[in-house]
């Protein structure tokens, strides 16, 4: 058993505070024994991404003999916590990969460098302006998107066809989707899809299909108790009919593709972001197909191209110039792009994308084709979510647990969520 949790919590909380106060808690020395400038570059990802990144970084070091790059990576959850701790201690790595949901908090907390000051070195001219704008907080470019992704309905086309249900088509509505799920459940005896009620992302797509948004421009809630009640009533109804996964399955979702009902053979379709679905091919096989998310009743699409991940520079770095060079290399260099491929989703640099995409193979190819199929039909992405959203995503899933385990009505849970969200978003 852990010796003393209270003391532990107190100690960790306060050590962090102390680090913030005592600037003496600096990082390791900035110059290595060789007299080179040493940059720290961290990201989250899997071993494949790590291998490719190491290779690209080696090429960068070859071209810049005066710079040594120390890299480190971890899984997303562990990375997120470690980075938060480092940032709080004033010891953020020079170059760091960031998520959409971290930018607002880190930028307003003074952790990130205004990249506008490095415009000479770090070129952004070939990035779609709408996509680039997602890294802007309070009018300043704090982060550069590294790839873009969009949501998808991934499904087992073999089973779907066998059930003789009409295949998903572009522009299908949430009602079409629900009808398909009911038909699949009826003919195959298992739920058509994972229950999307737990997913804040699906809720957002549904809201946007009605012309609404998750957050207002000033970072408040963009929807009402009524909206959320209707969403949860809709999904909870489908759960009761057996058209989507039961509560015991839904509650086990932990972000890994392997634990989804589709991967476990307990559903025929699933919601996810496009890039992570590649892990499903090993389980579902060749029949895995991607379809766009259902639209609103009038055909308004709810899904959008989201920057899949960002890269930023620490405000505290002693080497802003070298850090900017590294990012510029990772985003704009053709050879680097060939090494990195689609490991961080489809590249953002327009001319590089044109060059890399035709060479993509296997499921990378499927993702690229899927993105091309919805290109130009989607609405522009919302601005980066406010800081509190990081925690609210989990809260959303937990509150829906109360609905799917029938401990609260959709309205009670929605009221609960609004109270929690308002407390979370309080400035």
């Amino acid at each position: 058993m852990p010796a003393n949790r209270t003391t532990m919590s107190c100690v960790s909380a306060t050590v962090l505070a102390l680090c913030a106060v005592l600037t003496g808690c600096g990082g390791p020395s900035d110059t290595g024994g060789s007299g080179k400038t040493v940059l720290r570059y961290t990201w989250w990802g899997n071993p494949d991404r790590a291998a490719r990144t190491e290779q690209a970084v080696a090429l960068f070091e070859e071209r810049h003999p005066g710079i040594e790059v120390q890299t480190s990576f971890a899984g997303y959850e562990a990375y997120k916590q470690k980075l938060a701790t480092q940032a709080a201690g004033g010891d953020a790595p020079d170059v760091m990969q960031l998520d959409y949901r971290q930018i607002d908090q880190y930028a307003s907390g003074g952790v990130l460098l205004d990249l506008g000051t490095r415009r000479q070195t770090l070129r952004t001219g070939e990035i779609d302006t709408g996509l680039l704008a997602t890294g802007v907080v309070d009018g300043k470019q704090y982060a550069i998107p590294q790839g873009r992704g969009t949501e998808t309905v991934a499904y087992d086309a073999g089973q779907w066809k066998a059930a003789a249900v009409d295949l998903p088509r572009a522009g299908w509505t949430w009602d079409d989707w629900a009808a398909a799920m009911r038909a699949l459940a009826k003919r195959t005896g298992k739920p058509g899809s994972v229950d999307p009620g737990q997913s804040e992302d699906c809720f957002e797509a549904w809201l946007r299909g009605q012309g609404k948004s998750l957050y207002t421009e000033d970072g408040g809630l963009g929807f009402t108790v009524g909206d959320l009640t209707r969403w949860w009533t809709f999904t909870d109804g489908l759960r009761r009919e057996g058209a989507v996964s039961p509560a015991e399955e839904t509650t086990q979702l932990d972000g890994s593709v392997e634990n989804t009902p589709l991967a476990r053979g307990r559903a025929i379709a699933d919601f996810n972001w496009d890039a992570p679905t590649s892990a499903l091919t090993a389980i579902v096989g060749e029949a895995l197909t991607l379809a766009p998310l259902p639209s609103g009743a009038d055909g308004t699409p709810g899904q959008y191209f989201k920057p899949s991940m960002f890269v930023g520079i620490a405000a505290t770095t002693e080497h802003p110039e070298e850090s900017a060079e590294l990012i510029d290399f990772l985003i704009n260099d053709k050879e680097a792009a060939k090494i990195l491929g689609a490991s961080r989703s489809i590249p953002v640099n327009e001319s590089i994308r044109k060059e890399v995409v035709p060479g993509l193979k296997d499921f990378d190819r499927t993702i690229a084709d899927y993105q091309a199929s919805v290109e130009g039909t989607l609405e522009p992405p919302p601005q980066a979510p406010p800081a509190g959203d990081n925690a609210l995503q989990t809260t959303f899933a937990r509150d829906y647990d109360q609905v799917s385990f029938e401990r609260m009505t959709p309205r009670e849970a929605a009221e609960n969520y609004i109270i929690e969200a308002e407390a979370e978003l309080r400035p």
């Binding site: 058993m1 852990p2 003393n4 949790r5 209270t6 003391t7 919590s9 107190c10 100690v11 960790s12 909380a13 306060t14 050590v15 962090l16 505070a17 102390l18 913030a20 959850e77 916590q81 938060a84 701790t85 940032a87 709080a88 908090q105 880190y106 307003s108 907390g109 003074g110 952790v111 509560a247 015991e248 399955e249 509650t251 086990q252 932990d254 800081a387 509190g388 990081n390 925690a391 989990t394 899933a397 937990r398 647990d401 109360q402 385990f405 401990r407 609960n416 109270i419 929690e420 407390a423 979370e424």
Partner: protein
Amino acid sequence: MTTTDIPAAGVRAARRPAPGDKRPRRRREGAAWVFLSPWVLGAAVLTLLPMAVSLYLSFTDYDMFNPPHWVGLRNYVQMFTEDPRYWRSVGATLGYVVIAVPLQLALALLIALALKSMKRGKAFYRSAFYAPSLLGASMSVALVWRAVFNDGGTVDNLLSAVGIHTGGWVNRPGWALLAVALLTVWQFGAPMVIFLAGLQQIPAELYEAAAVDGASRWRQFVSVTLPMLSPVLFFNLVLQTIQAFQVFTPAFAVSAGKGGPADSTLFYTLYLYDRGFVASHMGYASAMAWTLLLVIGAVTAVLFRTSRTWVFYADEGDR
């Protein structure tokens, strides 16, 4: 100790310096402080100072990035009046303490009794039963536990084989708490070893006398073993209760850090962690930590108070 105690007076007498003999004493004290300094420094810098800062933070809004700003009692007010999830975490923790602690102590005592009367292989079994206490706190064992009690896991399969279909424990509210509690119960080794030591302290004459009076084994247990063991029982009860209130790892691993399903394993410390490190509300988390400290203090005080009525110290008769 009272002032009339001879040892205390003796110590004072020894410490009292002879007139004009101040320097050796000061040097002795100085040496003591030098040797103590690592501990004193450690305690001050690593315990007292962080605790003081944590207390300060509990009255602030602090997101780890921007400087903390004073909000008075708002964290506490929010905790007690506006946060339904906080109360669910309190409920889950109390439920866990009430299930896990008595079960664990009962099992520890039972095995200790069995081991005591064992003639051969005692050392082996003692180690074997103690091993889970060393392993159980680790993340890996908790993850194995999750797999064992999951849908399609070992327990589910075994129960299905005898016709009971559970569909997994860790994904059902109510059952998940039980699965976590069983992980703690399984780590009964530490209290067991203490019980064993306590049992071996009980004089054999008492049992012989009881046997001569015709007392049955049960009667001997109730009238000799339990009263003689009560100080040890009390010690274990206090220790395990305090630990149970602070349980974190098993719930974190079994629920994949979420405290689910439907908040049924959202233990206090798990919610505290969630508020501090996931939601970046260090002030709120600090307020929760201090509240937990006070509650554990209060529960321990209550246990000590009740102990007067049921804990029997052998030397009481001598006073």
